[in-house]
């Protein structure tokens, strides 16, 4: 009996290790392509949000007001040296897992555009958020994320009030709206802080520091 058990264990281990080896090979083989696809998609989304942009500077210092929503990376988008706005890659919970969105905020303090980078919701329902031919407003042909373009962050961002929901996917609509709002607020907070810094740029750097410290809690509280 004992001998049998050892034999069974070894057989199982053998099968598992062969499977592992195969997977490792395929993973190594596809890894580069998967990363390339992700980057390609990311660049395409960026281009769509800011057509004139040609430079993306990575920036830091974003604070999320919602503990569930995290900001992966943020970029200051520029055309040459002229700033155009901010783009934030935000990750938050949605119906079928985490959703990753790219939220762009322009200097007028409105949403410049939103792109869905990753979404795992129900195909045909929540997934319509990333479907470019699914329109929440059929007359104007605006997609779910498209309706946020040009929306000011002073708006309430409430689904079924000022945000049109995806039919039969209220949870997806709500979660995505929440992520967009959080990213937008953080961008505004960053702009407030940065602009304050810019105005005192000619002054001593010490003052800059106090300015920054003064606005930081604000950013968190929003």
């Amino acid at each position: 009996m004992k001998k049998d058990m050892a034999k069974l264990g070894i057989t199982l281990a053998l099968f598992a290790s062969v499977a592992c080896a195969c997977l490792a090979v395929v993973y190594a083989f596809t890894k580069e392509n998967i990363e390339m696809q992700a980057e390609k998609q990311f660049n395409a989304s960026m281009q769509e949000l800011f057509p004139q942009a040609n430079a993306f500077d990575k920036i830091q210092g974003f604070v999320s007001s919602d503990p569930n929503i995290k900001f992966e990376t943020a970029y200051e988008v520029k055309n040459g040296t002229i700033p155009l706005g901010l783009a934030i890659k935000a990750v938050g919970p949605s119906y079928g897992g985490t959703a990753t969105l790219l939220v762009a905020v322009d200097l007028h303090r409105s949403i410049a555009g939103v792109e869905v980078i990753e979404l795992k919701d129900t195909p045909g329902l929540g997934m319509n958020a990333s479907n470019p031919s699914y329109y929440v407003n059929k007359a104007k042909k605006t997609t779910f994320v498209g309706q946020f373009a040009g929306k000011f962050l002073t708006d309430p961002f409430e689904v079924k009030k000022d945000v049109v929901a995806i039919t039969a996917a209220t949870i997806t609509s709500r979660s995505l709206t929440k992520i967009i709002k959080a990213a937008g607020d953080a961008a505004i907070a960053y702009m407030d802080q940065k602009m304050a810094v810019q105005t005192v740029d000619s002054n001593a750097s010490q003052q800059q520091n106090t300015q920054q410290q003064g606005t930081q809690p604000n950013a968190g509280g929003k």
């Binding site: 499977a19 990753e118 919701d121």
Partner: protein, 212 residues
């Protein structure tokens, strides 16, 4: 050769995994909201089924029967992950729209069922014929259900607008109840088709006997 063809044919109508064996239904109803999803899911499932049946059939004498289930799972899981990675690398749009249902092929009962009931007892040739037949049987039903649901529920086919713009999509069809509804028609159609084909075959047999 004739025997292999017979095995292959079984999966398409007479023993269609979805319509006759009634297994693997969750994925069939969940992803069939548009045709491209149906095609993608069908091909992905067929790929996993094919390689799992081949491997299990090849090694069937080396697999101790007490631990056959975990071994089947390892084999199926490995191939599913391979499909997932390949789709992410080369068909990112398709992979995006099907999301979690690709990894869930692991628990698709058709694969477990066919591997356990068929491949673990049959020769390599039969296993290949069975996997292709079952895969085709699964795929055509998926595409059929998806086409009807997309046409009525969205007015499009594979993303292309087919219905006139004045057509108001019946949302019911893309929702899960609509999936069951359309599915039931396919079951009925398949039973009708099966009976008809059996009748035709019986008549042929009788005619041959009479001639003899």
């Amino acid at each position: 050769m004739k025997k292999l063809y017979k095995v292959f044919r079984q999966g398409i109508i007479f023993e269609n995994p979805l319509l006759m064996l009634m297994i693997g239904l969750c994925s069939a109803i969940a992803v069939t909201t548009n045709v491209s999803n149906g095609i993608g899911m069908g091909l992905a499932m067929t790929f996993v089924l094919f390689f799992s049946e081949v491997i299990v059939s090849l090694f069937r004498k080396l697999i101790p029967s007490i631990i056959r289930m975990p071994i089947f799972l390892i084999v199926i899981g490995a191939f599913t992950t391979i499909v997932d990675l390949i789709m992410k690398a080369y068909f990112p749009d398709l992979s995006k729209s099907m999301g979690v249902f690709i990894p869930l092929i692991v628990v698709n009962c058709i694969i477990m069922g066919r591997v356990e009931a068929f491949a673990s007892k049959q020769s390599l040739g039969s296993a290949i014929a069975d996997s292709l037949g079952m895969g085709l049987g699964y795929t055509w039903v998926l595409i059929g259900i998806a086409a009807l649901r997309e046409l009525f529920g969205n007015g499009t086919l594979a993303g292309i607008q087919v219905m006139p713009a004045s057509y108001q999509p019946i949302l019911f069809f893309v929702l899960p109840p609509g999936g069951f509804f359309v599915f039931s028609f396919f079951v009925a159609f398949n039973i009708w088709l099966k009976r008809r084909m059996e009748n035709v075959e019986r008549k042929k047999l009788e005619a041959r006997e009479e001639a003899a």
